[in-house]
């Protein structure tokens, strides 16, 4: 069986097993879920290893008729970009399962439900990155909202129901706009005699579209992705959702689901509507820069640790979007690498935040204080995660962030320069919570917090390891990304600006 399909079926098998486990056997449930996710991760790693770096076409391709009447295929395949995103997803899921070992128990429903949702979500995460059929992509894109919706609403905390609804409606709205565009594409493709959703075939469609048409269709997609990503001003669902969801869910939400937005911009907006992308680039770059600073400022102002992380992500997604639309190999590869790195640094932040919250029974930053003296390991983990979030050289996010900045600068110097102020703000939004929560005298209520236990260490260790390792040696990933990035850029008819030497002289 095709590896991608296989990795998508595995979780479903896991669910099938879970069904026969009695509610009471909680531990067994968890173990099965964990084993399943680990297996999937293994498959993912194997795919990454056996990925042919030389080949810029889609790999692990599979294509079956699904709804021939509409030319819809069950078509899978990955290029470098999709591959590392899948890798990220399958690596994060087991981490989430381990870290959230007990999250499932104080939920509205049994752990069984929780893990079934996680697993079905994993299937869809792989599918959404792997599908090379626009319709199939859309199906996953929309369908994956449902499990997340129930994960937030059923196992979250606080205003979970409201947050879940906000998240779902926001995303559905975007999704429906995208549906309109997809229908548009479909009809256009039919009109020009090629009734298909195959992305490679459709990438030629723009040649027959009127600019007006192309712009409209582009917007349909872009708004959907901008909501997912989330780009200012369509971001307001994220903080609420992130605050209410369990840390594990938040990791998947910010770490993986939101990447679908930026991934979609690359795979669909750019590939299908190159001209429209060009004409909208100034606007998008502006929005991206706004997101960077806006998100940073709100993070500085945030009182709740989970909201804070959510806002930092908004800032980071600004960087990613900027890198994508800068249309330079550096910016592009940087953005893609950024997606991967952001997945892990946010995961680290959220997981540690989760550990802190579980212990303190509060997510308000000011409730913590002086943790470094009480729970050094936890404090250190948070600190490192924070450092990676502010892109400290030597940690993974620095490489990607810097690539994005450099790449953007070569084409849009002003944007890049403004965005660079983000790194100062980043220092603030990380160091302020660090000071409040970890430094200073140990405040009442924190004296007796226990440090990370073995399970939590096991969960957080690989994440931090990856963060550090990729900071010093990102080449393996870059080797995978670069060819794909180069292809996209060249498809867009762009070439990197040559060094502007001798200007003036």
């Amino acid at each position: 069986m095709n590896l991608l399909t296989f990795s998508m079926v595995l979780p479903l098998v896991g669910i099938a097993v879970l069904v026969f486990i009695p509610k009471s056997k909680v531990l067994l449930t968890k173990q099965i879920a964990l084993i399943t996710t680990l297996l999937v991760a293994a498959v993912g790693i194997y795919m990454t290893i056996s990925f042919d770096l030389g080949d810029t076409a889609f790999q692990f391709v599979e294509s079956r008729e699904w709804i021939p009447a509409f030319g819809i295929k069950y078509a899978l395949g990955v290029d470098g970009i999709a591959l590392i995103l899948i890798l990220m997803s399958v690596l994060l899921t087991p981490v989430v399962v381990i870290a959230g070992w007990n999250e499932s128990e104080d939920g509205r429903w049994s752990p069984k439900v929780f893990y079934s949702l996680i697993l079905v979500l994993e299937t869809m995460m792989i599918g959404v990155f792997a599908s090379t059929d626009v319709f199939l992509f859309y199906v996953f894109f929309e369908a994956m909202l449902v499990p997340v919706y129930f994960l937030i609403g059923g196992f979250g905390s606080g205003e979970r129901a409201a947050a879940a609804v906000k998240f779902l409606l926001y995303s559905l709205f975007g999704g429906l706009l995208m549906l309109a565009s997809i229908i548009g594409i479909f009809v256009m493709a039919t009109r020009y005699g090629n009734r298909t959703f195959d992305i490679t075939t459709l990438s030629g469609l723009h040649t027959v579209l009127t600019p007006m048409m192309e712009n409209i269709l582009f917007l349909g997609f872009f708004i959907a992705f901008a909501i997912k990503a989330p780009l200012w001003p369509l971001h307001t669902w994220l903080p609420d959702a992130a605050k209410s969801a369990t840390p594990g869910t938040s990791v998947l939400l910010l770490g993986v689901l939101d990447k679908v937005g930026t991934f979609g911009m690359i795979r669909y907006c750019l590939t299908l509507f190159p001209n429209a992308s060009k004409s909208f680039t100034p606007l998008i770059i502006t929005l991206a820069v706004i997101s960077i600073l806006y998100g940073a400022f709100l993070a500085i102002g945030a009182k709740d640790i989970k909201r804070l992380i959510a806002y930092t992500s908004i800032s980071h997604f600004g960087f990613i979007t900027m890198g994508i639309f800068a249309m330079t190999t550096q910016g592009f590869s940087g953005a893609t690498l950024y997606m991967f790195n952001h997945g892990f640094s946010t995961a680290a932040l959220f997981l540690v935040a989760g550990f802190m919250i579980v212990r303190r029974k509060s997510s308000t930053i000011s409730d913590f204080g002086g943790l470094q003296r009480v729970t050094p390991i936890m404090a250190w983990s948070f600190f490192i995660a924070g450092m990676s979030s502010l892109a400290l050289p030597g940690l993974s996010s620095f490489v990607s962030e810097f690539l994005v900045l450099v790449g953007t600068f070569t084409r849009y110097p002003v944007a890049a320069v403004i965005a660079t102020f983000g790194i100062v703000l980043a220092a603030l939004y990380i160091l302020i919570p660090v000071q409040r929560a970890l430094h200073g005298p140990t405040t009442p209520g924190n004296e007796n917090l226990t440090d990370l236990n073995l399970r939590e260490k096991i969960a957080i260790a690989p994440v931090i390891a990856i963060i550090v390792a990729l900071g010093f040696y990102p080449s393996p990933l870059l080797k995978i990304i670069n060819p794909a990035a180069a292809t996209v850029i060249s498809q867009q008819g762009f070439t990197d600006p040559a060094p502007t030497l001798n200007e003036g002289k």
């Binding site: 008729e65 699904w66 709804i67 021939p68 009447a69 509409f70 509205r108 429903w109 859309y138 199906v139 996953f140 929309e142 369908a143 909202l145 449902v146 129930f150 609403g153 059923g154 979970r160 129901a161 879940a164 609804v165 779902l168 409606l169 559905l172 709205f173 429906l176 706009l177 549906l179 309109a180 997809i182 229908i183 548009g184 479909f186 009809v187 039919t190 009109r191």
Partner: protein, 506 residues
């Protein structure tokens, strides 16, 4: 001196309808002669068998290929048969609900709250009339979309309507409401059918023919007086739009859906829509197609208003049956999109949509019948809160149907939406596409609200319980759930079948 031909009747083709009618007549006889005790069972048996037989016969008819029968007054072409088949399937599922007598009054004639009613309940009489009535309605519905002359069309309309008027009044609980709904349905129905008839009159005046083909010929020829055509189309549309419940002819829908016994509502909402839209498709595709430039704009406008109105007002509903009613109005709007698209893909899409929507509707209402307290069904949405805790499976099924209504991928509703909107856009109507999408967004709003209510709110202890569904209801729910999701995940067989068979012959 007009010479007289003895009519020829192709019984083999008419068999499906005749079987149903026959079943109905037998039912009447049973009512008359069989002992009360044995009626229920025998009626149910007769009804199901006749429906199933008719379905079988229908398949046979289909295999003989498209043909018209009874002096061109009915035509069994692909589309017609598909519609009939859907009606039959929906009818069968609904009958399972009807079989759950809890929904129906013991003695329709007895005054609400009267001594008579009480002891009728005590001896628990059963209103077994509902079975023949249903069968008659089904027969009418089957006739409606295949009728190719205006007389048959009119008769069919009445045959399907009259039994429904009565059925609407037979609720066991809240009988005043039930009777009121019957009254409203009847008066407005009659009112609209008067328009329908007037339309027929003018069309006849325009084309001097009552057969659709004749009218089509006239339209093509353009000989007649356009005023008559105009009035004809307008009045005929009023009658049809009333049946499908499009704004502004929708007003009866919420009241009747709420007042009527839920089982009947299910049947009505699902099957009537198919029949009415079937007829509409035939009329507009077969005889008014060439005059589209006259009526299409108006119909588009109605479609837009209907989508928007249905979705918006549904948000404000507190009663689950009313909410479903308004959502059905919204869906009528979506379906109109298929009618106005006036192309093959529009036809296919509409037929597919009609079927999947009908199934989901029956399923949804079936679940409504399960949520009860001592005073019967609980339709107040607030009291549905925490249903997910009380009985997860029922809630999950209902959520599934709601998601299908909302058109979430992997449910049949999504495929339907995609098909019908793409057809509409293919025919060049961007407005429909945009409004449709926005309307769906609004609609999602209240479907999700119900899901939140069921799953994320805690139950309020007020004796609201979910009864253990009777076998029949279980079957109904199961079938509709399976169909809804199966067609969401792999709709290809049905779509291909529709695509290959669905066409109208003039």
């Amino acid at each position: 001196m007009i010479n007289f031909y003895s009519p020829t009747l192709e019984y083999s083709l008419l068999a499906p309808i005749l079987i149903v009618l026959g079943g109905a007549l037998i039912g009447v006889l049973i009512e008359a002669f069989a002992p009360a005790a044995s009626r229920t069972r025998s009626q149910l048996f007769i009804t199901l068998t006749s429906l199933v037989l008719s379905l079988a016969a229908l398949i046979k008819v289909r295999n003989e290929g498209s043909a018209s029968a009874a002096m061109e007054s009915v035509t069994f072409d692909g589309a017609g048969v598909l519609l009939q088949a859907s009606i039959l399937v929906l009818a069968i599922i609904s009958v399972f609900l009807l079989a759950d007598q809890e929904n129906f009054t013991a003695l329709a004639a007895a005054l609400p709250g009267s001594e008579q009613e009480r002891d009728s309940l005590r001896q628990d009489l059963k209103v077994t009339e509902i079975y023949p009535l249903t069968l008659f309605a089904v027969a009418g519905m089957m006739l409606f979309p295949v009728a190719t002359d205006l007389i048959t069309l009119f008769v069919a309309l009445e045959v399907l309507s009259l039994p429904l008027y009565i059925l609407a009044g037979l609720s066991r609980r809240r009988r005043l409401m039930s009777q009121e709904s019957a009254l409203k349905y009847f008066l407005l129905g009659a009112f609209s059918s008067a328009f329908f008839l007037m339309g027929i009159a003018y069309l006849y005046g325009y084309s001097s023919s009552v057969s659709l083909s004749g009218i089509h010929a006239a339209v093509v020829g353009g000989s007649g007086n356009d005023i008559y055509l105009l009035l004809g189309i307008a009045f005929l549309s009023v009658g049809l739009l009333f049946k499908v419940g499009a704004v502004p002819f929708h007003a009866w829908t919420p009241d009747v859906y709420q007042g009527a016994p839920t089982a009947v509502t299910a049947f009505m909402a699902a099957a009537t829509k198919v029949a009415a839209f079937g007829a509409m498709l035939r009329i507009f595709y077969v005889c008014f197609a060439e005059a589209y430039w006259q009526w299409r704009p108006a119909l588009i406008a109605i479609a837009l208003v209907t989508m928007a109105f249905g979705s918006l007002v549904a948000i404000a509903q507190k009663d689950v049956k009313r909410m479903l009613a308004y959502s059905s109005i919204a869906h009528a709007g979506f379906l109109l999109a298929g009618v106005i698209s006036l192309n093959k893909s529009g036809l296919d899409a509409t037929i597919f949509y009609l079927f999947v929507y009908g199934v989901a509707t029956v399923g949804a209402f079936a679940i409504v019948t399960l949520v009860r307290d001592s005073a019967g069904e609980v339709t107040d949405l607030n009291r549905w809160s925490g249903l997910g805790k009380r009985s997860p499976w029922v809630a999950t099924a209902f959520a599934g149907f709601l998601l299908a209504f909302a058109g979430i991928p992997l449910t049949s509703g999504f495929i339907g939406k995609f098909a019908i909107f793409s057809a509409a856009y293919e025919s060049g109507s961007t407005a429909i596409l945009i409004t449709g999408v926005l309307a769906s967004a609004i609609a999602a709003f209240f479907y999700i609200r119900v899901i939140v209510l069921m799953f994320f709110k805690d139950p309020i202890e007020d004796g609201t319980t979910v009864v253990i569904p009777s076998l029949f209801t279980q079957v109904a729910i199961t079938i509709s759930t399976v169909i809804t999701f199966a067609l969401g995940i792999y709709p290809t067989p049905l779509i291909n079948f529709i695509q290959s068979t669905a066409q109208f012959i003039r």
